[in-house]
Amino acid sequence: MALSIMSERHGRVMVSRLVGEFDQQSAVLVRDTLEQAILVESIDHLVLNLSGLTFMDSTGIGVLLGRYKQITQRGGRIVVCGLSPTIARLFELSGLSKIMIIAPSEEDALQVLGVA
């Protein structure tokens, strides 16, 4: 598998670290894993650490937007961190940077959510 996800819970917040290539092939894995956490495990907020991604394209934008909708519908928030320059540009171009909170590091992201 070209992508792996490592998640850990901090109370009602889940931190997920994406490692590898986030593209059409790995989209289903990311969607299913995060959807499970949001809808079944009922986490409140999500921190997505993208610093381990060696690649991401617009497929990732669509998947993140989908999770954004699911979590905000339940009153939660998504904070993303660890964006490479190219991934940051994807966020800009798609407008994702206007709706999602972008933090410089995982620690900052947790602070935004009042954890740590």
Partner: protein, 161 residues
Amino acid sequence: MLGERPGTMALKSGYNEMELKFIAKSGNEALARMAIAALIAPYDPTLEELDEIKTAVSEAVTNAIIHGYEDERGGYVTLRAVVEDGVLSVTVIDQGRGISNLDLAREPLFTTRPDLERSGMGFTIMENFMDELIVESSPQKGTTIIMSRRLGSVHDPSQLS
């Protein structure tokens, strides 16, 4: 368009070309990205340049696979790439379903597959990450994407003039 014998001109260090043909299945967008990365590596691209080019190629190839052939009808995708005079030109061809309204398709956020959580940002990203983008398409015949970008570090000394 690869002929049978390039002239010796083709062997000048700055020039290179390749054509990669593969089956339209999810996963082969990674193959396409690796091939483009290997082709441009000798030109010492910056990490950002490399990332942006790989992303643009990935968008075009992913579109061919999931929109052109809808990921299951089968078919081949062709990726052609030429580096000449410090400019990378990439052509991505499919013989899939084609695009009926090109202007609409190229609009940011427009997608015919919201069910797949597509973002509709593919063409916008290709446009922004490359210098030029040409899209040709005929319904039921297929789609050809032509994009080019000047590589930052031109190693061919003849380019310095």
